[in-house]
Symmetry: D3
């Protein structure tokens, strides 16, 4: 049984080889991604076993994702192939119109994973894990996927499995903002560890000052393991009564997508392997910095040795300007 | 007013840079395509004005298509942007598993053009043309697009505009074969010029011998302008009582997609510019040969001078083996 | 009739895919460029109609330019194809020997556009516009092109059309510096809006301090709409008695070529759409920053929505280092 | 326990992106290969479980190979990482100097797999399989690897496991031809199924006429399951008293490397799944044809559905010339 | 002193990475070429020393050519850099509009080499060689280059140096056909060995039947060493009274440009190294076949060992279809 | 006779086209490198003649290196081809795990150059030079190469040739650190000019403060021409009693490999051409900055004119951020 079980949609990403509006981009590079899948890969790279519950299209892109996860050592026993629906995909436009920011163009409506349903969530599988992880994206892609996510959270809560949740609010996936607020707020009731950023805090809690965010999450949802990501300012955590702040590592950004997943995955892996929260945050920040330096989300997720080298070598390197 | 008006969905094509199953393909090359759009470009390259009725997503891919058509000189006055639905796309897998054959993987369900409706068909625009052209793909992508296509055919018939129809049966776009047979057969009642191949003839008419195909189309649908494409064997036409056969040009095939559109477009252009049917077929065959030599459908659609050079130079060239 | 009419040579640019001296570059990427053509595209992207007076070679590169401009919506009614002369081209060497600076290697002597002559300048076409735009490059490429440019300026002046002039001094295009000074100075007598940088000011006016530049242009040429570009320091304008300074946006530079054209085009579009000079400068600076982030000049010229997103999002993005 | 256990060296292949002598090739494409590894992947793609005994360098290329095999579903439980020795690699020069033939440049001396030794061969693992497969390459790369291969063959023989052997004579890997003849001949004494070509037959047996080859292998080594590959002429088998001939499929060749591995793997899989020898040969020939159409060895190894489509579709496709 | 001295213009070639009209080609690959330069490289690869008399631009492309020739071992002591004029370049469009044929787009008017003049031709340098080689292209690019070529031929004749001449009629380089006929005919008066094809024979001699061509060249110009290239039909020679025919090798053609240069260079090298004319023709044909399989002219020019392997291996390879 | 003679191993470098761990890199770009070879090219680009003593494999990669050096004008008269051993190669992983740092993966054990021996060192060749240059890498690759290096140093010392030595400690090339310390320390006894960095100073001298480093090298080895490289902090020299510090130029780093070779080569060239030590250091720093901006080591080594332009233009360029 894997130590961590995650639930959500893997996607094939087509990342623009050249910057600028996609109109003018001729070549696209294929990558395997998906927020929960990225977290799984982050975990197994650091030696923490992880399984993903999902559905893939019975097509070339589904096989691509499946072999990727299996190749990395992720448990694929709870992945089903859907003979009718395609694997979800999206395109990435980089550095335009805002430098350092990527735009996405989804083709995931009606995807195989959008048909995820509570039937896919095996109580023994979830119940046998130490951590169950899912995100606000799974809450957004379809009603049935949302039900599956809630079932997973409920099972976990019922069996004493730690629940980990990355808010991951994606405007393009929700018809109405209010729906997002309602659903994501409801989810927080089942959550032990939460990852969110300032905009998400503002949306869900109506506050964005760090102290207020921590206070609201604790008082309204009883969450005492909170990681608040602050972009270039770094990240802060409220962790069982303690407040910790860690700076971000500054690196040249090629594509910021995947930073949050790297953070969450490496943070969880570090906590599970006995690091204190500050060390976990520092390692998570390092991983986030590593992945934004390349196209694709998972390629630069570090193995233990590479993570150690980054932490030791950062700042001693040649100036990057 | 353009001489030809066409109706149908343009698509962005992502063509695999390397051969083999898409799992293993890393880079994809973007191309502008779509059967009726290709026909339009074939026409304007040969000096015949053409307009396309369609809908595009209000996204980067929609703008890409729009500028492509406008840049080629196609009339874009009847193209609308849909703020909600994305531009349809598809992926091309080449030479696998069958050498010389391409597989497609569509992401066009719910596309902007699938919302084409009779409202998009301006009677004056269609009625002012010499030829109205559409295909069986437009009949397949949605109920509303099908209605639009039938409206176009009806208007054209009513106003004495020549109707041109490429059967273009695409199995993946129809839920049931019977639906395709019913709809496409119904369409044939409105058609003056029809393009089809042996498999399509067999499906719709229950016969595949050339003489039988011609006989059935004439007797059941009253069509006396028929172009039957025979692949490597070339093409045959029944044209107002005359039967003509033309051999195919043999060239190295990189991607056969787009050959039929090149054929239809160059055939129509040639007929409209006064070529006899045999010359039109020969020119259409040449254009079909030209486009299969490259990825993408439209790039090698010839201008008049290039078409002439192909016809003069073919067979005098260095052996291609 | 287009709101803006421009006159000058479009070029095909072959931009080195890898940095360093061209000896060692193996692959080159084709782009459509040309200072006045870029300005036209900048204008139409922001909804201001524009037409270009020019000549192109009757070759593949000429067709490439023509379809580009027509695709973008630039009026191409005053473009002629020259059956004898080729379309002008140039090569771009990036980041060598000076980091952040590009070198050019022209193959434009004897190009189709170098045969531009006063005959190409239709008084009704120029006279019907609100703005006539040309640059010092058109003054440099040949005697006949220079005459055409002067004819355009004279017609515009005579009919109350605003004249816009980008000094664009290119050393490689002039045999002797004195010629450049004489011709460009003469041109300034016909100019309402001038764009120049400090080196150009120093060359033409013998001064380079901002106040002196403004004073000289006003006193010697009576110009009261002046935009002085200061590189990383931003830009300053003297505008009908008012002096305005706007900072540059700092972004990673891939190829600085085209920044000036983006500035001029977006500045003109903004003024024509009612922005005050400070807003126009800020928008122009943003566009200049956008285009230097990629190879090619025109790809990142923004549409209104993208320009707005840049201005709102700049500074909130992830650190780029 | 896997149905098939193989023993041998996986390699990273760097395949020239452009044809011609490697001096002039600038870009190389990385592929995962190795004759026994390819056979494993051929087997698992067709649903036959397979495990590979080998050693990999504890480096990026070793991880690449490991994740590849694991991703495909090959059992990796008997792969060890060597902390000292690198993963073996080689370069492929295509179509030069002989059209249609590839040259290889090995960097595998002292590789991790060259340290394979009898210790790596777990008797229970080999003994639990239905088939044990190795090749003459494993016999060539080092003394210890050769001993490991002989140990595997002996264990298999002792436990009634079918032994499968591909002669795979590689001149560059042997110091002296006589050594190859001695070793490979000795190996044949342990073999149930042998794959070889005419040159190899000539080398080992001193005969090359088909009947003579079959006779020698039967009389000298008691082998009655023989597959003789004849290149463009197809392949012949002597199979338990029956002689069968199957034609080759003719396809455009991009890189012939890997054809033999595809043949052996698909042949074994087909026999194990109950196909008669003629069907197995036909399927093996099809797979060999599929893989030579691309760079890399394993990408085009077919899944069952793709193999069926090739066999049905071959010959109906557009002419490839 | 080099055994062979050649005179003519090297060029940088920009070869389209993808087939089809250059409008649609995005990437171009840089190659070093030029008919006489190619002949030099063909010679030195086979161990015959060669020097080239030419002029290059004092620019990156000139340095590229210079280092190429020097790197190959061509004597560069008689190459001058021109500080004013650029190195000549051209673009290659492949397989369009005629399959297997390449189109060229020159930017060589006013190039450095067009300023070649009799001053560049050092009598001692030419006079010290065994063979002096030039072509009809040098006769076409400018009046001064033509004079230089005639000076070279005259010196060679005067000093008993064998003169070798490839007619190389390029329509685009001559203003009027008559000029070409006059100049090239005049050149033939100085020629010992001539290379030409059927079209060139027809143009210059008014006959195209092989026997007539030989007869005319002998009777009118006294040439008794004639190589007539017949494309796919192979080549024929009249050689000091003997007539020899050699078939062409059939290979897949990527870009036929450079075949003639490979033929001439390898033929000359072979004759100079003692091969009889039939062997020289066979080797020259092999080299021509080798170079048309890739983009660029010189990359596949064989070294002795590769040439031998081609000749031994051709026909034994896997079918290329 | 060349002014400088160097001794060491050239290598073919395969540089990852995309950043991140090599597992995930698909394309590799071939470059010609090797520390002493780079120094040679740096010298000849600045007009100082240089010859390299080395051995290359008699393979395509050996020919590639040979033509590269010959093309640049390096004297290749003392390069031998080894028919048995391959040319050494290595792979470059960029920006992972440490941003701005490159990892290397060598395949050079048993390479042709590892068989370099004292026999390769011609006393007349070394003795005829003004400077003899080698590095700690040559000391590390094999016993025979080390002996060759010491022979070179001894000859030079004996004949009054200036000895230049770059410590170039490469951990991966030494079995034990102590060996490196012993050998490199022994080498310092023969050295006139030494290049080293802080880590190397610490390893060999046990001190890393600048003053201590200078003092130790002077007192223990009698060296009074010392260049200490300090990374982003610049470089310092002790030069015949004078201490000079020069800042580093800050540029965007693509691949830092080769910076040291550029520094050493340009420093030597500048000293030999009469620059004072400060000017030499400034020029060397500029060259180091130039080469780190691209993949590959030698491409951006400047010619005199480019070096001058960098020094004049640096700091005036557009901000690079």
């Amino acid at each position: 049984m894997p130590e961590v079980v995650a639930l959500g949609e893997p996607l094939v990403q087509f990342n623009a080889v050249t910057d600028g509006p996609l109109r003018h981009v001729t070549y696209f590079e294929k990558h395997a991604t998906g927020t929960e899948a990225n977290v799984c890969v982050a975990l197994v790279r650091l030696g923490v076993s992880c399984g993903l519950i999902t559905r893939l299209g019975a097509d070339e892109f589904g096989l691509f994702i499946y072999n990727w996860l299996r190749g990395e050592g992720v448990d694929v026993s709870h992945i089903r192939f859907d003979p009718e629906r395609p694997t979800g995909i999206y395109f990435v436009q980089r550095n335009y119109p805002i430098p350092g920011v990527s735009d996405v163009l989804y083709y995931r409506r009606g995807s195989a994973a959008s048909a995820l349903s509570p039937d896919d969530v095996d109580p023994d599988y979830v119940g046998g894990a130490r951590v169950f992880h899912t995100t606000g994206i799974t809450m957004a892609i379809s009603d049935t996927a949302r039900s599956a996510a809630f079932k997973g959270l409920e099972i976990a809560r019922g069996k004493g499995v730690i629940t980990s949740f990355d808010v991951n609010y994606r405007k393009k996936l929700w018809t109405r903002v209010e729906d997002a607020v309602n659903v994501l707020s409801r989810a927080l009731n089942f959550v032990d560890i939460v990852f969110l950023d300032e905009d998400e805090a503002s949306l869900l809690l109506g506050v964005s000052m760090v102290d207020d965010v921590f206070k609201e999450l604790r008082s309204r949802f009883g969450i005492d393991k909170i990681v608040l990501k602050l972009g270039v300012k770094g990240s802060m955590a409220y962790w069982e009564g303690r407040v910790v702040k860690v700076d971000a590592f500054r690196v040249p950004v090629k594509d910021p997508i995947g930073a949050g997943d790297a953070y969450a995955g490496v943070f969880l892996a570090s906590i599970l392997r006995g690091h204190d929260v500050e060390s976990a945050m520092r390692r998570a920040s390092a991983a986030a910095a590593m992945v934004v330096m390349v196209r694709g989300d998972e390629e630069n997720l570090p193995r233990e040795d590479d993570l150690r080298r980054f932490l030791e070598g950062y700042g001693r390197q040649v100036d990057l300007r």
